[in-house]
């Protein structure tokens, strides 16, 4: 280790406490102005929200004006994932899906992202979307990459 080991350890402890307060709902570390820590936390979450909105356009469009507020509520005690805005938006969409039914185009977006992020070498998934009502299927396979196809359907959405 270059530099004083105990200095690094002390700095690590202090920085961890601050980052936890900012992105993981942790307590404000001693000596900090709580308002400024809150303002920074909100600014970080807003930046995350913008990145997710850019990566997940249908999701952002669907939630419209409520997108930012809903994302901020979601992100308050969930640190940004290692996978960046794609994984962040995916987790957000899944959380929304558990609460309510997301419209078709968002489900398609979700499906494509799941295929892209999947660890399995072969993956097949589908969802109904519409109108017009159709079955959208994604496949991920070696050499093929991620592909999707649409089958018209009579199922009511």
């Amino acid at each position: 280790m270059s530099g004083d080991v105990t200095a690094r350890a002390r700095l690590a402890t202090a920085q961890q406490a601050l980052v936890r307060a900012l992105v993981d709902g942790g307590p404000v570390p001693a000596g900090f102005d709580p308002d400024r820590v809150q303002a920074t936390s909100t600014a970080l979450a807003r930046k995350r929200a913008r990145a997710v909105a850019n990566t997940w356009p249908a999701l952002a469009r669907t939630l419209g004006a409520g997108f930012t507020a809903q994302f901020l509520a979601y992100a308050a005690d969930r640190p940004p994932p290692a996978g960046g805005p794609l994984a962040d938006g995916l987790a957000f969409a899944r959380a929304l899906m558990r609460q309510e039914r997301l419209p078709g185009d968002v489900r398609v977006e979700l499906l494509l992202a799941q295929a892209r992020l999947s660890n399995r070498s072969i993956r097949l998934a589908g969802t109904f979307a519409g109108p017009p009502c159709r079955l959208v299927m994604t496949v991920r396979a070696p050499l093929l990459g991620e592909r999707w196809t649409t089958v018209p359907s009579r199922r009511h959405n």
Partner: protein, 301 residues
């Protein structure tokens, strides 16, 4: 180290000189803009740009350059700008991230690379943005050790940028100018002076931006960052998504009155305006580099 920087800039400069329109600033790099995918068309069409900065983490070593960058890099100096190295963190910089920055500098023929005086992760958590470093002697020593480690593996000089922050660490032992000055002297790093960050911190924490300029080793400036921001809930946010305020442009003039920087670069990251508006903003920045300041230059260095 210095000759490499200036040689690099001179090399680019001679290629550019013949076609360089009269509207660029007097420094060797001129006025530039941060390259973003959304701005690729504008940047390709804008003929009097002096240089561009490319976010290092947005380029992959094993993939071709994004559309437009390949052509552009034969025409303009490009500076890789890292945002995730976390030089101010408690851990040593990740060798893979330093290697990426080094490889990118080689690939782009960059005269230098830049990073931040900041940390972005701690204890396995990623903050998602640049956070300020505590201004203590102890944190400064760790930062200096980290910067030296990075420099050892970089093929070109490293410029360090001070950040904007809404919060401050308790009990600072050094003011920001003294902290930066010691960092730059002891690491021989260059300074990426961000007048928008300077303005934001002065608004949010108090302090005199001109006194800050007078205290810094301005001869170490590699280039200057300019950006817009907005006020929300009583605080000034350095958004990079709003037009550059007049007060920030005034700081550009103040810097130039003290010492002409090699280049000035606009950062725009979101809410991209129509091309005419962005072009006008770049022209305004160019004008600010030339505006004469009535107060005498005070930098004694």
């Amino acid at each position: 180290m210095w000759w490499r920087l200036w040689w690099g800039m001179r090399r680019m400069n001679t290629e550019e000189l013949a076609s360089r329109p009269a509207s660029v600033a007097s420094g060797p790099l001129g006025v530039g803009i941060g390259w973003r995918e959304e701005l690729a068309g504008f940047i390709a069409r804008r003929h009097n740009l002096g240089f561009v900065e490319v976010v290092a983490e947005g380029i992959h070593d094993d993939r071709p350059l994004p559309a437009g960058l390949e052509e552009l890099h034969r025409r303009l100096p490009m500076i890789p700008h890292g945002v995730k190295l976390s030089l101010g963190g408690a851990e040593e910089p990740d060798p893979a991230r330093v290697a990426h920055l080094a490889a990118l500098a080689d690939r782009l023929g960059a005269p230098l690379v830049s990073e931040h005086v900041a940390f972005v992760r701690a204890g396995g958590l990623d903050a998602g943005h640049l956070l300020p470093v505590p201004r203590t002697r102890e944190a400064l020593e760790v930062l200096i050790a980290n910067v030296r480690l990075a420099q050892a593996d970089l093929p070109v000089p490293l410029a360090l940028e001070h950040v904007a922050a809404l919060l401050e660490w308790p009990a600072p032992e050094l003011d920001e100018a003294a902290f930066l000055t010691e960092l730059l002297h002891r690491t021989e790093a260059l300074l990426l002076l961000d007048v928008a960050n300077l303005y934001a911190n002065a608004r949010n924490h108090g302090g005199d931006p001109l006194a800050f300029l007078d205290a810094l080793p301005l001869e170490r400036i590699a280039y200057v960052h300019v950006a817009g921001g907005a006020e929300r809930d009583g605080l000034y946010h350095d958004t990079h998504a709003h037009p550059t305020p007049a007060a920030v442009l005034e700081l550009v003039s103040e810097v130039c009155a003290r010492r002409d920087p090699p280049g000035v670069l606009l950062e725009r990251d979101d809410a991209y305006p129509p091309e005419a508006e962005l072009a006008a903003e770049l022209d305004t920045i160019t004008a600010a580099t030339r505006r004469s300041i009535s107060r005498p230059a005070k930098n004694p260095r």
